[in-house]
Symmetry: C2
Subunit: 168 residues, 2 copies
């Protein structure tokens, strides 16, 4: 297996193709990671939607976040992009109207994106309308790594045989 650094263009391409990743937040130096759905604007913003909970409280007190997105085809063939950025809430007020419309338009292209956030609020017994919110992540840094099989692995077919654990 050979691992190489992805170009900025390759990183942007992966973020554009995916809508599912993991969001890292931190509070008093305790990191916290959860899965999220997002939409990428192709430049320097990710948009997402959620309901109130620990991650929103943490991002309000510390806006530094990390988003990791990976495409795992096999042990020998995967890509992973890591974004470092800053959280900004998009409240339902006139100054944020344009940004909210932008977020909503991009997220609506992703089927069913809102189901997860709303269902998560149900488990906490919350009212949907009061707690739903849009947010944006301003991308400050983006890095990516890609693994490919080496000639020996390809020749013996390992890259097809070894499926990653999440496929079980």
């Amino acid at each position: 297996m050979m691992v190489s650094t992805m170009s900025p263009e390759e990183c942007r391409d992966l973020l554009s193709r995916f809508e599912f990743g993991r969001l890292g937040t931190a509070h008093q130096n305790q990191p916290y990671v959860i899965p999220i759905y997002f939409a990428y604007d192709g430049r320097d913003h990710l948009y997402s939607f959620t309901t109130l909970g620990r991650k929103v409280e943490w991002m309000r007190s510390n806006p530094l976040v990390c988003v990791e997105v990976d495409e795992v085809l096999s042990h020998f063939h995967w890509s992973s992009v890591v974004v470092l950025g800053r959280y900004e809430e998009l409240p339902d007020t006139p100054p944020y109207r344009e940004a909210r419309l932008q977020a909503q338009a991009r997220l609506e292209k992703k089927a069913l994106w809102w189901q997860t956030a709303l269902a998560a609020s149900q488990v906490r017994g919350e009212s949907h309308e009061a707690n739903a919110l849009f947010y944006c992540i301003h991308i400050d840094e983006m890095t990516g790594r890609r693994a490919t099989s080496d000639p020996v692995e390809s020749a013996i077919g390992l890259s097809r045989a070894a499926r990653p654990a999440p496929e079980k």
Copy 2:
């Protein structure tokens, strides 16, 4: 879609079946998330193996970490376990001999676990032997959520139709 809280036993079951997750670390309140391979001891430890890099430097200065593991079968059918814990390095010295053997034995059951860490060191142009290290995560808190389709979604077959983005 209905989301419910997983029992401690269900969380342990998911961690036991998987070997691939995302590790969150934090440095000066900046979170950082990367994919990792791990082995779970069935109780309160995760074991992993890596090479020197940003995540090790960060965990040495702040041992608080988070590991997220998810099983996404469809938009309507997924489970996610979040572990909060503390990093402990397992150096190659007599006091850590037992712990290292334990880590090694559990990790060796996971095929090819060492390939990723070693290949990652190649991209940084490092010597393998000098930089490879085992570490353990002591689990302090473990929570899980599971989504299942509601009767309407099941009836119209949405749970099978909607594959998550990483399957593209």
